[in-house]
């Protein structure tokens, strides 16, 4: 189904936008129709993302489902999308949360229903696009595009202080983004000294920098003095730290890492339930994803100079976030601070730069999306009934809402990483990776592991205040338990928590190759680089098709590949020459379909840079 695969990623990304176009033409009074249409759009996109996920070949080429079209040739910008194991996992998460959010808001959002759903749909496309962009400018466009709908979601449908929170969120994020833009431009020029042949394509920039980064690593390892560096490496030595920090700040704000986290509690508290779910579920991962995809691979040597600092911040985030939770009275704020703690784990696992840690980090991103998304969802359902966020105003809820209590408790156990739930697998791997790390001392792991205790302390404290004891108000006796729609919304989260806890292997299988590549790239030039690093360093992507004037079909006869016996083992053994890899080479498909004729393109000589 190669033809399908080629457009499948585009479908996943743009279906929500298409439905946004549809919703825009619906009369705003038809609320149910608007909700229904949005739901269908989200659901179709979600199903497509599941299909995408299942079709992704774990041990196939790094980027699959690639599409590359001309966009702004003069600047070397192309429309280039594709997914690796991490991106496809996060896309699955985003796709899954989409319809859930619509369902969850069904009974909650009552004003400006159409605009609300338009924002959701546009946001969905922006997030999916950012996850799959392989062109840095395209990424930046999607990255910034995420801001606006989220700003609206918080600012229009939020609680009492929504405007303050929305502005804070917007400005905080924007500060980082602009610095990142500057860094993007700088790296565009630094990596490609030849005017006229420059490209914003991630792979081109990355591959162009590998040599320089290796030189720089060797130089820094030798003390950093008196090195004979190539011009690019010398530039990186001077400016690399600032460029890395510009990227790192943008992503760190998004994560959010301590101490740039203070937008998060406000944004979460003020955001409507849908906003909180998406914010926690997907948008925070954009930060960790950015570190993984851009900051460390592009600046491995400079990045490692800040590795310890970032790891310290991550551990502070873990412990500090957990301590903050103990001081909260507002349930949403508590969940928000618990995100700071959990995302600290994602960062720590990545910074450990061991395969276990990186895989755990990626898995923890998914887990956090599921369990914290579910916490915000469930709390949203409670808020609809009780209209207060303060713990003290509840109490004894388990008695009047037993089904709700059961759901909440299961998600709580996932959040505090009880074995058998998804949280445990992620947390275990992150901590194991941190202990195994050649870069971080075991103190990092020990401090991070205290979250095992603190996490249980604050979550169970909250559970007790809300669910146990006697109701503190008379109204609390009349809270109604979940209805069928709400159960349908919450049940998938609970099922996922258990499935991801007991059968994590299908998920980890897709993440593992991506984390092996991440570790290889982030440890480039380091004495602790893994043995198999060399083969994983190069980023292989499809080439830009020839200029649009030429009919694409003309490229057909250029590479008459002989068809060998289609045994998977033989296929894996075939050495694919650098940069000549066609778009689609998944392993398990019949060979005739693996080399689609449309993409059978010889690279232009300019793309074949060393």
């Amino acid at each position: 189904m190669t033809e399908t695969s080629n457009w499948l990623l585009n479908v996943v990304i743009f279906l929500p936008l298409l439905f946004a176009g549809l919703v825009a033409f619906l009369p705003s009074g038809e609320r149910t129709l608007v909700r229904g249409t949005t739901f269908v759009g989200m659901l179709l996109s979600a199903l497509a993302s599941v299909w995408l996920y299942l079709d992704f070949v774990p041990n196939g080429p790094e980027f699959q489902f690639e599409t590359r079209w001309h966009w702004i040739d003069a600047l070397g910008i192309s429309y280039h999308i594709g997914v690796d194991g991490l991106a496809v996992s996060l896309i699955l998460l985003t796709g899954f949360l989409g319809p859930m959010v619509v369902l969850a808001s069904w009974g909650t959002v009552q004003n400006r229903v159409k605009e609300f759903h338009l924002s959701l749909l546009v946001l969905q496309t922006a997030m999916l696009g950012a996850l799959s962009s392989l062109d840095i400018i395209l990424f930046y466009v999607f990255w910034e595009a995420m801001l606006i709908p989220m700003y609206l979601l918080i600012g229009v449908w939020g609680s009492e202080d929504r405007v303050m929170a929305a502005v804070k969120f917007f400005l905080y994020t924007l500060v980082g983004s602009f610095l990142m833009l500057v860094a993007i431009l700088a790296i565009y020029f630094i990596s490609q000294p030849n005017a006229g042949a420059r490209s914003f394509d991630l792979a081109t920039i990355y591959n162009a920098l590998v040599g320089a980064n290796r030189e720089l690593s060797a130089c820094l390892a030798a003390g950093g003095e008196n090195c004979h560096l190539s011009p690019v490496a010398a530039t990186l030595k001077t400016w690399g730290p600032y460029l890395f920090l510009a990227f790192a700040l943008a992503f760190a704000i998004k994560v959010p890492m301590w101490p740039v986290h203070t937008w998060l509690p406000d944004a979460h508290v003020q955001a409507p339930m849908a906003g909180s779910i998406i914010l926690a579920g997907v948008m925070l991962k954009m930060g960790t994803f950015g570190f993984w995809r851009f900051a460390f691979p592009l600046f491995p040597a400079n990045g490692r100079e800040f590795q310890i600092l970032l790891a310290v911040l991550a551990v502070i985030g873990i412990v500090y976030g957990a301590l903050m939770c103990l001081a909260q009275r507002d349930i949403k704020k508590l969940i928000a601070y618990s995100s700071v703690s959990h995302l600290g784990f994602c960062m720590l696992g990545m910074l450990a730069m061991s395969k276990e840690g990186a895989t755990g980090s990626a898995y923890q991103m998914l887990n956090h999306g599921v369990s914290t998304g579910a916490l915000f969802l469930l709390f949203g359902l409670l808020y609809d009934r009780g209209h207060t966020r303060l713990m003290a105003d509840y109490g004894g809820v388990a008695k009047v809402m037993p089904v709700f209590a059961a759901f909440f408790l299961i998600i709580t156990f996932s959040s505090i990483a009880v074995p058998g739930t998804n949280g445990f697998v992620g947390e275990f791997l992150v901590l194991l990776g941190t202990f195994k790390s050649d870069f971080l001392k075991y103190g990092f792991g020990v401090f991070a592991a205290t979250a095992v205790i603190l996490g249980a302390a604050y979550m169970l404290w909250m559970v007790q205040r809300v669910f146990f004891g006697e109701p503190s108000h008379r109204e609390a006796h009349h809270l109604s338990d979940l209805n069928a729609r709400e159960i349908v919304t919450a049940l998938p989260f609970v099922v996922l928590v258990l499935v991801m806890g007991l059968m994590p292997q299908p998920f980890l299988e897709r993440i593992e190759p991506a984390s092996a590549r991440f570790v290889a790239r982030a440890t480039l030039g380091s004495p602790h680089a893994p043995a198999d690093a060399a083969r994983l360093l190069r980023m292989e992507v499809a080439d830009l098709p020839p200029a649009e004037s030429a009919p694409k079909i003309a490229a057909l006869p250029a590479a008459p590949t002989p068809v060998p016996a289609p045994s998977p083992a033989a296929l894996q053994a075939v050495e694919i020459p650098p940069t000549v890899r066609p778009v689609e080479t998944p392993v398990r498909r019949p060979i005739e379909r693996r080399f689609p004729q449309l993409q059978r393109v010889q690279p232009s000589p300019s793309a074949r840079q060393p």
């Binding site: 205790i453 146990f468 007991l502 984390s515």
Partner: protein, 741 residues
């Protein structure tokens, strides 16, 4: 006789079918939990009871059949770590749970003589307690929830003992903690009970934190060792390759792998299998994050961390504080979870990893001392508790201390023997206490009971038998198991820690005397004497419980007596004469530990001490303490409420009753500072420093700068022109100066 022996030692089953049915032992109670948890509300009481009890009962039958199977010498279990098969065992690997990088862990189950023994205890005692609960919870509206939790607990406990690797064991380990949390806080409308559940979970989490770190360090040691070790460590190339293969296939947390590690790691070069230098405990780890630290040091650290983990689960010093509060749960829960099964998990953990423990005499000394101090400390607290369940809770803590003592001196079989007999008599005591409460309008204060024996004959007789068993006043099962421990402590010395073993022995004797004292006190105040004046209901209204409660009591009392059989030296043990049945039965499990001990002299066991001497000693101690208790409570201060007691006794009583203020100390030293720090950080760092000074400060500075700059943006052409002219002038002047220079 021969033929009977042959019958029980020949498996009637096909090995494959047993292997493939192992998971059912766990699945049955898990299914029961699922059915009761999801549909319980609509099932009705009788169905709910039936499903829950049948699920555990079915599990018990399967466990029995499996036990029969592994009694067969021909039943073997092979692991990739070892070329030789493990006898008397059956195992099943259900594939990978998860893997990443070098790490991999399987859903692997294993039943051998150790886990088989525990399987029978868990499912057997579990079935009886389920039966008991059907009546005990007959007036509770949340019965289906109760049975769902209880079934889930059994499933988790079975996972814990059947796991063939550390991580799957940890699933059960945390799973039982979770169920314990749910069951302690079962009556959650009472904030104190919900709080007790939370306290239990979080205290256990402190232990789990240590457990996890120990697991990580274990992984690192395995990975370092496989790179560093040479052929001499393993004896031959095949064994070395097997170790590497096993590590790759089964991962670093598999128990067989750890056993292979223990066998391959000699204590010092002098004891290396061959002459050439092998990696020893004194060798430094060559690379990785632990480089420069010796294997021995890391191993001791690992074991001490596991000790903290085990102290959490098994309520030892310093983490025992949750167990007495856990009595907030329904009494059958206390019997099953907080006496017979869950709290023994720490003992099981060390027995499972006996081969590692014996490599580090330092860690063993710590285990033994922690056990001995806990045993004595908890016994003293139990002197003055008035709540019958609290006394039993502290008694459990104390008895677990005995088991830790045994583990600490390497007498693993004695620990398991005491674990089994304790499961019988303590479950019987708890269920008896529950029966007393059931018949006395939920009264738990022993000073407000009294004379119960007249109305509750079955409860009285069974409670008396169990009391005799735990005190050792009559040589029932507890006498032999506790004496086995004290005898082993007396006859063992840990290399480098000789004085400690003597200290442990004396502490153990004192704790044994304490046990006899407080148990006699409880027994006496509850069942003997007159009815207390302020009893909740008059004596006429006291009633014996129904059959569902008395049958388990009778069976458990009978087991407390019959378990004598395990402790009596009946089996031939070569040159050392005869050895107890349990020691013989568990020999295949502890063979590695034993061979390490004898080859490397970490633990010296003397066989000279006479068993008869320690029996007589134990007997004397038990009777002295029992007599003292009876004397004190009949003659000296028969302290029902309101009656005077001597001043020194009162002061002692206040201290012990208030548990030596340990809870208050923890609150002051740990909980309050953390809470204070949290709120300080939130109010100062987060709200003021970061958000106000840094974030809003930046905004403020930006706004101020903007408003200053505003004055330059007047839109007045003349002033713009003036500025331009001035600037031009200045520039020209500067140029002139430069030129003239």
């Amino acid at each position: 006789m021969e033929s009977i022996q042959h019958f029980f030692m020949t498996s009637p089953f096909d090995a494959d079918s047993v292997r493939h049915a192992l998971w059912l032992i766990i699945a049955l109670p898990a299914l029961g939990a699922l059915i009761n948890g999801v549909f319980g509300r609509w099932l009705g009481r009788a169905n709910s009871n039936l499903i829950a009890t049948a699920a555990v009962g079915g599990s018990f039958v399967l466990a029995l059949l499996t036990f029969w199977h592994i009694n067969d010498w021909n039943q073997v279990f092979t692991t990739p770590f070892d070329t030789r098969p493990i006898r008397y065992a059956v195992g099943m690997d259900h594939g990978t749970w998860f893997s990443a990088g070098d790490f991999i862990v399987h859903f692997g189950l294993r039943v051998d003589h150790l886990s088989g023994t525990l399987l029978l205890v868990i499912t057997g005692v579990g079935t009886l307690i389920h039966l008991y609960s059907t009546e005990y919870m007959s007036h509770d509206a949340g019965y289906w929830r109760y049975f769902a939790y209880l079934n889930l607990f059994v499933a988790m406990m079975l996972t814990l003992v059947m796991a063939d690797n550390l991580l799957l064991l940890f699933v059960g380990w945390e799973g039982v903690g979770l169920c314990s949390y749910l069951l302690i806080g079962f009556w959650y409308s009472d904030p104190a009970k919900a709080w007790a559940g939370r306290k239990a979970f979080i205290t256990n989490r402190v232990g789990d934190f240590a457990f996890l770190i120990a697991t990580f360090l274990t992984c690192l040691v395995m990975w370092s060792f496989v790179k560093q070790a040479n052929v001499d460590n393993f004896g031959n190339v095949t064994a070395q390759q097997a170790f590497a293969t096993g590590l790759r296939e089964k991962g670093p947390v598999d128990f067989s792998g750890l056993e292979a590690l223990a066998r391959a790691l000699p204590v010092d070069p002098g004891h290396a299998p061959t002459g050439t230098p092998a990696v020893t405990l004194q060798t430094e780890i060559a690379q990785g994050p632990l480089s420069g630290i010796t294997y021995g040091t890391v191993l001791t650290a690992i074991l001490l961390l596991f000790l903290l983990g085990a102290a959490g689960k098994s309520a030892q010093l310093p983490l025992y504080v949750w167990l007495p509060d856990a009595m907030a749960g329904p009494t059958p829960v206390s019997a099953l979870i907080h006496a017979a099964t869950m709290v023994t998990a720490g003992v099981y953990l060390f027995c499972r990893m006996s081969f590692l423990l014996v490599l580090s005499p330092t860690a063993m000394a710590f285990v033994a001392v922690v056990g001995a101090l806990t045993a004595l400390f908890a016994a003293v607290i139990a002197f003055a508790q008035d709540d019958i369940k609290k006394v039993l809770a502290y008694s459990t803590v104390s008895q677990l201390g005995f088991m830790f003592m045994a583990v600490g001196v390497g007498a693993f079989w004695a620990a398991i023997l005491h674990l089994v007999t304790h499961a019988f008599f303590k479950a019987c005591l708890f269920l008896g206490a529950g029966s007393v409460m059931h018949g006395n309008a939920d009264e738990t204060d022993i000073k407000k009971l009294g004379g119960v024996k007249r109305k509750m004959k079955v409860t009285y007789v069974t409670f008396t038998i169990a009391t005799a068993a735990i005190t050792g006043a009559i040589p029932l099962s507890g006498f032999f198991s506790k004496d086995a421990i004290l005898h082993a402590v007396h006859g063992t010395t840990l290399a480098g820690h000789e004085a400690i073993t003597h200290l442990v022995w004396i502490l153990g004797l004192l704790a044994a005397a304490g046990t006899a004292f407080y148990m006699t006190r409880v027994w006496f105040l509850t069942f003997q004497g007159d009815r207390a004046a302020d009893a909740r209901i008059p004596e006429e209204k006291v009633h014996e419980s129904g059959w569902a409660m008395t049958v388990p009591l009778v069976l458990l009392a009978a087991l407390s007596v019959l378990a004598i059989g395990y402790g009596i030296p009946l089996m031939s043990a070569g040159e050392h004469g005869r050895e107890p049945v349990m020691e013989n039965f568990l020999r295949p499990i502890f063979a590695t530990a034993e061979s390490i001990t004898s080859a490397q002299a970490t633990v010296a066991v003397s066989h000279e001490g006479s068993l008869a001497f320690s029996w007589i000693l134990a007997f004397v101690i038990a009777w002295v303490a029992t007599g003292a208790a009876i004397f004190a409570y009949t003659r000296f201060f028969p302290s029902r409420a309101g009656q005077p007691a001597p001043a020194f006794a009162k002061r002692f009583q206040t201290w012990t009753r208030d548990k030596f203020y340990v809870d208050e100390l923890y609150d002051l030293v740990i909980i309050k500072p953390i809470r204070g720090l949290a709120s300080l950080l939130f109010r100062v760092v987060d709200a003021v420093v970061i958000d106000t000074l840094a974030v809003r400060g930046t905004a403020w500075v930006t706004a101020r700068v903007g408003s200053v700059l505003r004055y330059f943006q007047t839109g007045d052409t003349q002033s713009y022109a003036a500025v331009m002219a001035l600037a031009l002038l200045g520039g020209v002047a500067w140029a002139l100066v430069q030129v003239l220079k």
